[in-house]
């Protein structure tokens, strides 16, 4: 067979590039800065909901941050929560409508600073909701301030010389905390800094939503998102900067799946081992297919 099958008409008509938006977005327009990773993450979970065919029983609960402006453009029933309080609001929604798919949309400032207690208790209760964390390690909306996930050395408006562990304390690996709780059934950390990470993150959303729909427990997907504005780096440098800073600390991978808990440290060790194996293969004369 040739690369493009021309034996019959394609089953799905070709769509214009400019029309490429999830059906669950009312407009392609958004209010994010150039280079922002949040729209990429929003697209992935909205398309996952479409793929699962559960749109008409989906309810979103939005926190407060840049992403809040998607509450007007996401074509899903939505409850706006206070900063940090989305998990408890989602709890009330889900308990009254147990057959629905309920997710929260929160940032690191919202979830890990203001609402840390909320998300931990919601996870511990095993509420059948999915909390989505868009983690860029910075308060984007206020203009680039340190959050509880900012990494050591990260320069923000209130850590001008870089986050200093001695003075500012250490970042919280929120996924690790949640994975330890019995009520959590699926915990993963993805990213949107390149095509591969987007594809992996998409699978994480799917697994999380499916686990929620099976009623297994609390589910959590963290997505590292670029924020060149809040990081004070050129737009095009966002993905690289993210990989080299946040990506080195908040390691991508599944922290809890099918009952198995892996720490960020273990994910890191696995990545190092994989890389070493690749390096050795290359040294032997190339990667075997």
């Amino acid at each position: 067979m040739s690369i493009i099958d021309t034996s019959s008409a394609p089953t799905v008509p070709a769509r214009k590039v400019e029309a490429l938006k999830p059906d669950l977005l009312l407009t392609q327009e958004h209010h994010m800065c150039p280079g922002c990773g949040e729209p990429l993450a929003v697209r992935q979970f909205l398309e996952t909901i479409e793929e699962l065919g559960v749109a008409t029983r989906t309810i979103a609960v939005a926190g407060i941050g840049c992403y809040t402006s998607f509450s007007g453009s996401m074509d899903v029933d939505l409850v706006q929560a206070l900063h940090g309080r989305a998990p408890s609001v989602a709890t009330g929604v889900k308990r009254m409508l147990p057959d629905s798919l309920v997710f929260t949309l929160q940032g690191d400032g919202d979830m890990v600073n203001e609402g840390l207690q909320e998300v931990l208790h919601t996870a511990a209760r095993g509420e059948k909701v999915t909390c989505i964390l868009l983690n860029n390690g910075v308060f984007g909306e206020t203009g680039g301030h340190m959050t509880a996930t900012s990494v050591i050395g990260q320069r923000t408006k209130n850590s001008l010389d870089g986050r200093d562990a001695e003075y500012h304390g250490y970042p919280i690996l929120i996924g690790d905390l949640i994975a330890q709780l019995q009520g959590a059934s699926y915990v993963a950390r993805g990213s949107v800094h390149n095509a591969g990470s987007v594809a992996r993150t998409r699978k994480m959303f799917k697994r999380a939503f499916e686990s929620q729909l099976r009623g297994e427990g609390f589910t959590f997907v963290e997505v590292l998102t670029m924020c060149p504005t809040g990081w004070f780096v050129p737009t095009a440098d966002g993905p690289t900067y993210m990989q080299e800073t946040l990506g080195e600390v908040h390691i991508m991978g599944e922290l809890k799946a099918e009952g198995r808990v892996r720490t960020t440290e273990e994910l890191h060790a696995e990545n190092v081992a994989k890389q070493r194996e690749l390096d050795e293969q290359i040294a032997r004369g190339g990667i075997e297919k």
Partner: protein
Amino acid sequence: MSATTTSDRVLMEGSEALARAAIAAGCRFFAGYPMTPFTEVLEHLARLLPEVGGVCINAESELEAVGMAWGALATGARAATGSTGQGLSLMQESFSELTLAELPLVIFNMARGQQDYFQATRGGGHGDYRHIVLAPQDVREGVEHVQLAFHLADKWRNPVLIYGDYLLAHTQEAISIETVAFPELPKKDWAVDGSLSGSGRSRGVTSLGVSKVGEPAMGQEGKAQYIATKIPLMEREVRVEQGYCDDAETVVVAFGSPAKFVKYAIAQLREAGHRIGYVRPITLWPFPYAAVAAAAGGPNVRRVGSFELSAGQLVEDVRIGVGGQAPVTFIGGVSTDHSGFGVGRILDVELIADRILALHEDRELPLIPGYEQYSYQIQEHQK
């Protein structure tokens, strides 16, 4: 309001009666955090709600309790939370914001005394908002008020607070939970259930004045204006009781459980020939200013007193109502038991009657026994 069913009266603790009244009103979600003297309301709902297919969550904090109720309300369910005034302090951010989101929350405040009058009627949260506040004088009225609260909350899409206390929560009375019938209310077409997701007409429950793309949005200013113009309309829900005011020379204003003591004291003083009347605000907001003004404007009125278990909060509304027609005197005082939870020494008919009579006879108010030892003495550097 009219009672439609009557069951046999049983001896029941106030907390249980309030819980059963909530269920009779269709409440199906409750979240709370234990705190004396509110705890038993939570206990009874935790036991009773699952029996009718409802949910009661023992929340991890007051902040989460009100958040959970918020979510349940957004689905159109009748939902409530509660605490004491102290616990409600923690919920104030949500209270003001969910009022802007027009969510019909019912709040059970089993307060430690009456020092939370300002909190209840003015609120501690940000922005312009008002909650309807019902202050039952006893368990029987509490059962009625709980049902009224759920009705008014839905009628106005605005929170309603029940101002109770240790006595309301813990007194056993022989009562029957009679279901109160109210006029039918519009369907909650604003509530979210996911059914319109993906239709282009999905809904949003928000305090922010934003809307879905393509629909007109109020904006923050418009939303604030919209809520501001609803407030005067809700004032028609004012409720008040008064007695002996026609020929009264002295009028006493009191609310909640203490009002029942005041009414009893005044009835006794009347028998002894003293022309004293009372006004009992049943709604603390809207406050019955007109009724207080009319009572204070009676042909024989020489003075007005405010009896309340606080350092003087209600008295400010009484002054606004009286409007200078007569001098207004605060005749209450801080009164809880030593623990701070219960009923203090002032809630005593004899003591109350003494204070009312002193006011009536223009004598100095009698000292409250045991109070002097705690009175603040001015320091040298403050003179």
